[in-house]
Amino acid sequence: MAQLVAAPEHGVSGRDPAWVRVTLIGIALAFLGVMLVAPLAAVFIEAFRKGAAVYWQNITDPATLSAMRLTLVTAAISAPLNALFGLAAAWAVTRFEFRGRSLLVTLIDLPFAVSPVVAGLIYVALLGSRTPLGGWFAGHGIQFIFATPGIVLATLFVTFPFVARELIPLMQEQGSDDEQAAITLGAGGWQTFARVTLPRIRLALVYGLILANARAIGEFGAVSVVSGHVRGVTNTLPLHVEILYNEYNFAGSFAVASLLALFALATIAAKNILEWRLKSMRAAGSGV
């Protein structure tokens, strides 16, 4: 992804006539301005329309704080599970030859292809209190749908491809020579992973986690289906924005939205720093 934003070093664009360049850059900037910058600015303007005091009141409202807590808890549970699943999937796909390997690669992409609403409905159908599985869990005091476990599951479903998709191409490119070298030097499986594999994929892993985390915090569709929108209990930040909006509490709605927007900006900043570090690492490591 880093390559997409890199300017061409010896590109042909330098020979294009000036009007072509000006037009293309103008279109791109105008599009960005209308579609991204203006709406983002609007979020903050609307949030502060009734003044900073009201803004502060809105974001420290108990229901908002509760939604924030649930969102952060969900993200905090998802991140390590995403790391674990992503590593396992990438390892399996790049280091072993097995039947169904290409099927696994395809399945990893499934959550990106399917509508998040469908993802939510899958869990309602599977774990709703009237289904056998959901009933069994309910009998043991565990409720998935309209409760935090369901929200975490739905979030995991939509976020799990991110880490694997970052790691698979990198691990494929690196090959397994280094791991084999470590094994011939007497390292065990865990030592090989911790000392040789992990340092090489660390940045890509963090990068995947940042993307997965951004999605986990912002996810609306899948979570909306399984949440039940119980204010102060099963509301996440994105759901809370909608509720406030539907109640015509525009200032409150935009105040909460501004929190999500701030988080998005922080994600982009973190992502850019990592991309820059990944790039310099690749440049230093090229040809090894």
Binding site: D177, Q180, A181, A182, T184, G186, V196, P199, A284, V288
Partner: protein
């Protein structure tokens, strides 16, 4: 350590990479596995290293020092492996790369930090790279990387050293220097070594014995002198150097109607301007190449074939041959292989 392989085979799907190979490598010996790509030499090396396992067939056995080892389990036998593309850990410095094998040892066998440091510095001295201990692999040249890879493998005091095309990715001059360096190193530290190569010159120069492989089988085993001067098959002779092929009819005991092929190395041929009395091939000198250790003379025969002759510079100046003139080529020494006979 002595390595004994008995009836080792390995198939990948329908492809037989190794076909019933038996081989013995003696203590302290440097053996080269030589063959074209696809001949099974790397597969054999990986099996010795325990990175791959032979097919389960009756009689398949690997012995280290006479003791049979578990073919499927990991090798607990201190095997050093040097990869063609170095496989240095790029996130570690040269020092840490070499120290790796010492650091991953179980706590009971592990040396303390000072001991590890001393051992790594000793190895860096051995590969003459003390000054670059703090650098990362990406900051080294190919030749330096390969030496670091070798030092890393030697750090664990291996009882067998396995090298997979160790100089394959280097340019010709560096390759030659490293080859000589490796041979000197082996004379200094005579650890039982197996080297895989497709470069016959490398094998002839470095190895105590050469195993020539073809299509997953061992074609011939012998010292460089034996395999070069007494090739058992046409394949070995062709693989180990340039060969002139003549079509001839045999006389005497082996005589027959069929034509057979006679092989002679360029330095086993003689060119002269005189026709003489002994049988000779008549031809015209096409090209003379004097740049190099020997003079190469290309002769186009009347049958339209090209014959390569090599001779020393002294001999060449004595002969007075010039390009374009008619000459006679005589065979001093040649070989006929049974497999070719009657073809």
């Amino acid at each position: 350590m002595n390595i004994g392989l008995e009836h080792v085979s390995r198939s990948f799907g329908g492809f037989r990479a190794l076909d019933d190979v038996s081989l013995e490598v003696r203590e302290g010996e440097l053996v080269a596995l030589l063959g074209p790509s696809g001949s099974g030499k790397t597969t054999l090396l990986r099996i010795i290293a325990g990175l791959d396992a032979p097919d389960e067939r009756p009689g398949a056995r690997i012995r280290f020092d006479g003791e049979e080892i578990d073919l499927r389990g990991p090798r607990q036998h201190q095997v050093g492996f040097v990869f063609q593309h170095y496989a240095l850990f790029r996130t570690m410095t040269v020092f840490e790369n070499i120290a790796f094998g010492l650091r991953v040892k179980p706590a009971k066998q592990r040396q303390n930090e000072a001991g590890i440091r001393a051992r790594v510095m000793e190895l860096l001295g051995l590969i003459q790279l003390e000054s670059i201990a703090g650098r990362y692999p990406s900051q080294l040249s190919g030749g330096q990387r390969q030496r670091v890879a070798l030092a890393r493998a030697l750090a664990i005091e291996p009882r067998i050293l396995l090298l997979d095309e160790p100089f394959g990715a280097l340019d010709a001059k560096v390759r030659q220097d490293l080859r000589r360096w490796l041979r000197n190193l082996h004379d200094k530290i005579p650890v039982t070594s197996v080297l895989v190569t497709h470069d016959q010159e490398e094998a002839l120069e470095v190895a105590d014995r050469i195993v020539i492989m073809r299509g997953g089988k061992v074609e011939q085993i012998g010292t460089p002198e034996e395999v070069f001067h007494h090739p058992k098959s046409a394949f070995v002779m062709d693989f180990l150097g340039n060969v002139n092929l003549f079509h001839a009819r045999l006389e005497g005991e082996l005589a027959g109607d069929a034509k057979t092929r006679v092989r002679a190395r360029p330095h086993d041929l003689e060119v002269s301007r005189e026709e003489g009395t002994s049988p000779a091939l008549k031809g015209r000198v096409k090209r003379i190449q004097t740049a190099g250790a020997v003079v190469k003379v290309e002769v186009a025969t009347e049958e339209g074939e090209t014959v390569m002759v090599e001779m020393g510079h002294d001999r060449f100046s004595g002969s007075g041959i010039v390009a374009g003139e008619v000459v006679f080529v005589r065979v001093k020494e040649a070989r006929v292989f049974v497999e070719d006979y009657s073809i």
